[in-house]
Symmetry: C2
Subunit: 302 residues, 2 copies
DNA sequence: TTATTCCCATAGACATTGTCTATATCTCCT
DNA sequence: AGGAGATATAGACAATGTCTATGGGAATAA
């Protein structure tokens, strides 16, 4: 096309001006001298201006050529920087990874992976955005995070969810209810005690409510909290029986400040997965992180 | 070659990112959509990174793509500015013209041309460097001026001199020597009066000295000055007879404060010319100025 | 001076690759 | 469901970028 100037010519011009020699520019660009000569001539014809004065030992910028160079030099520097940056991004020496999830999943599930990731790729900045599952899905759709971690299932068609982990929810109580330690309670018996549940819009809450409903029972919590930490804290202080993932209270169970209140129905395991946008390609950092998470448990990310 | 990335691709990338649509980018670049698609794909393959996420109504930058864009956008802006600047230079809407010459030639010869040039090309900044002929030649060789104006002949092979004007040197005196008004002096008679000459290294001085020498006479000035203004001023005040170009004292001759002291030998006309470097191409502004100067007198610049 | 060398310009042939047309696929919207 | 509009892909063609070969000029050295 006769429209616009081929930007490739500026690269040639840059090296010709920088080295002061078409021959050396050719060497830098892995071209032959006539090619460079031709390129410069094209530029000169397009601009209707002479860019170099040709001498016996090379070329020298004319006044107009020097003006052009003052712009092109900067332009080329930026391109060089861009190319270096892209190489760094590709090698995961640079970049950022933005993850969305709940406090508890970060703390009890992702933390070791985050540590390992940071150790392996120290150049990548980590941004952790905590929020509820719908908030995380919102962040994903807005492009504010690269991936999310949440309890499955996720219904949204735009979201791709890969299960990577399972949690076993259970009821736990503190020493105030120590007499329940050796019992196996029916759901009806359990309802005689104050129950502490996570807030209404959580997946765990929905799951356990269904379990009771399927047996014609209505589960109404005494206390409703917004964080797993409070769930644990309230149980420890004897305010009631908390429903929480066993994996989140391993320490408390070991120390004996909490114990599991066994019941006579099996509770379905909670599946935890990594959420990404179906149609948005993953960043290198995000793929690497997902790979890292899936490494241990045989899961494969699509 | 597989070395380096074709910078033309960045132009395509820029428009694709800016418009958010490969189709629209194609329209901007007078290409077809598959060409743009192909160009983006090449970039992605080279970087090993996905730059856009393709959606149903266009494309959107990925995280990595946004990083690249932040560099490329600036780079493209600079190129656009460069192209605008070059167009301005070509149209003489911008730029600068650096001229070297003596005070007197600027004042009495070039001034009207400079005025006309500035009127016709108001965007071009004028730089006037005054100096002696050897200094001007030095400036030319250093590239500090685009052209010079000096008395001919100029011997230097690197310098191209084009004669554009003739001066008629003559001897002038003030009213103190009014009695010489109607005389025609021989050179010998002239030497009886105090002579005021320009400084030793000037072309005019050399010329007149030769005239005397060729007749076996020795011309030794009473006063030697460094500027034409002083030459005139001293003559006016009666300190002696000055040797000066008639064209530089037209006003004084008309006003009667000076008169020409006629002598009985013809003095050769002094040729004034424009000096440029033989091997250095002229800037647009310089060519335009030379053309302007030559316009009136039929001279043609090579 | 003459020879040599280094540089750039030019010409013409060749092959790379950039570009197009035609078509497929997908998503969104009616 | 079907249409509109977006991008992806395949394959053919041609523009043009690149090379080899050569010539000319200016500086350098003998």
């Amino acid at each position: 096309m006769s429209m616009g100037i081929n930007h490739e010519l500026y690269k040639v011009f840059y090296w010709a001006a920088k080295t002061g020699s078409l021959t050396q520019a050719a060497r830098k660009l892995y071209l032959t001298q006539p090619s460079v000569s031709h390129a410069i001539k094209q530029l000169e014809e397009r601009f209707g201006v002479t860019l170099f004065s040709r001498t016996a030992r090379g070329v020298e910028l004319t006044q107009e050529g020097a003006v052009l160079y003052s712009y092109i030099e900067q332009s080329q520097m930026l391109i060089t920087l861009a190319e270096e940056k892209m190489a760094a991004l590709r090698n995961l020496e640079s970049g950022e990874l933005r993850i969305g999830g709940s406090d508890s999943l970060f703390k009890h599930y992702l933390l070791p992976y985050l540590e390992k990731f940071h150790e392996r790729y120290p150049g990548i900045r980590l941004h952790l955005n905590h929020g509820t599952t719908p908030e995380i899905i919102g962040f994903l759709k807005e492009g504010r995070i690269d991936l999310g971690v949440a309890r499955m299932p996720i219904v949204d068609p735009q979201i791709q969810a890969t299960e990577t982990y399972q949690l076993q929810d259970c009821f736990v109580a503190g020493m105030r209810y120590a007499h329940l330690k050796d019992e196996v309670l029916s759901l009806e018996r359990l309802l005689e005690y104050p129950i502490i549940l996570f807030s209404r819009n959580s997946r765990a809450r929905m799951t356990i409510t269904e379990v009771f409903q399927s047996r014609g029972l209505s589960l109404r919590p005494e206390i409703e909290v917004g964080s797993v930490d409070l769930l644990i804290e309230f149980a420890k202080r004897g305010l009631g029986i908390s429903y929480v993932a066993k994996e989140f209270v391993t320490k408390e169970l070991e120390e004996g400040v909490l114990f599991e209140v066994r019941i006579d129905v099996p509770l379905p395991p909670a599946r935890v997965g990594i959420l990404t946008m179906s149609n948005v390609p993953l960043s290198g950092a995000a793929s690497a992180f997902i790979e890292l998470v899936c490494e241990g448990n045989g899961n494969r990310n699509v």
